[in-house]
């Protein structure tokens, strides 16, 4: 059997794919939204690419910049998860503190 080919190039981003096929931005955004919403219902978390984050790639910045944008989005997701649990624990502590004061 042939040796497998080891691919080292990074995965193409949806933007790159759309560009290579010549898919208009509006159509690409519609498709993207459709797939992301469907996967979000199944519990997959997507890195949010807001207008702010996608701006550097529009201006021709390197992948590094867009990657940092994605990382920021990831951190945002993590913090929301943490804050939920944080609220719950805070509620418990306030109740616990309230009892002895009464």
């Amino acid at each position: 059997m042939r040796r497998p080919v080891v691919i080292t190039a990074p995965f193409a981003t949806p933007e790159e794919t759309a560009r290579s096929y010549g898919i208009p931005k509006r159509r690409a955004n519609e498709l993207r939204k459709m797939v992301e919403e469907s996967l979000a219902k199944k519990g997959y978390v997507f890195y949010k690419v807001s207008g702010k984050d996608s701006a550097p790639s529009k201006n021709g910045a390197s992948n590094r910049a867009s990657r940092s944008g994605r990382l920021r989005a990831k951190v945002r997701v993590n913090t929301t998860v943490k804050s939920k649990s944080g609220n719950a624990s805070r509620r418990k502590t306030t109740r616990a503190k309230a009892k002895p004061s009464r």
């Binding site: 497998p4 080891v6 691919i7 080292t8 995965f11 949806p14 498709l31 459709m34 797939v35």
Partner: protein, 163 residues
Amino acid sequence: MTLEIPGGMRRLDRIFSLIQSCDYSMHDLSRVQLDRAEPRTPRFNMPFELGLAVAWEMIGSGQHMWFVMEAVNYRLAKSLSDLNGTDPYIHGGTIDGVFREMGNALVRKGRQPSILQMWSIYREVRGKIPTILKRCGTQSLFQARVFEEISFATNVAAGGIVR
């Protein structure tokens, strides 16, 4: 990809330019069979395209990598004995087999999708096909625009599923 043939361009020119522009090509010879329409003839497009890819690797780029896929073991030795010594990737005519053999042929360090992830992507994109067909105003999958949208949807789904 050969569905996208710009007006006036010969089909063969388009196919060869596509092979030249790709680092890898996959050639599934499992569908070289007699068609239903009379007179019944086998479809030779796939072996012909494989020949072009082999020629491009041997006398052209020297870098191009081609892979042969088959559904049945040892059938290639009978149908295309010139390729004796080349082991085809046998997918057994199943989706699982195609995923497995693609994973055997192409390896990625780090973010390598598992078979389960490939199934998830497949199911996701397959579920979107009726919508895509409706958007494109067609009933056929073999249209350039449909192919583009399916490829794009697959890319987006892979981005969410493969981590």
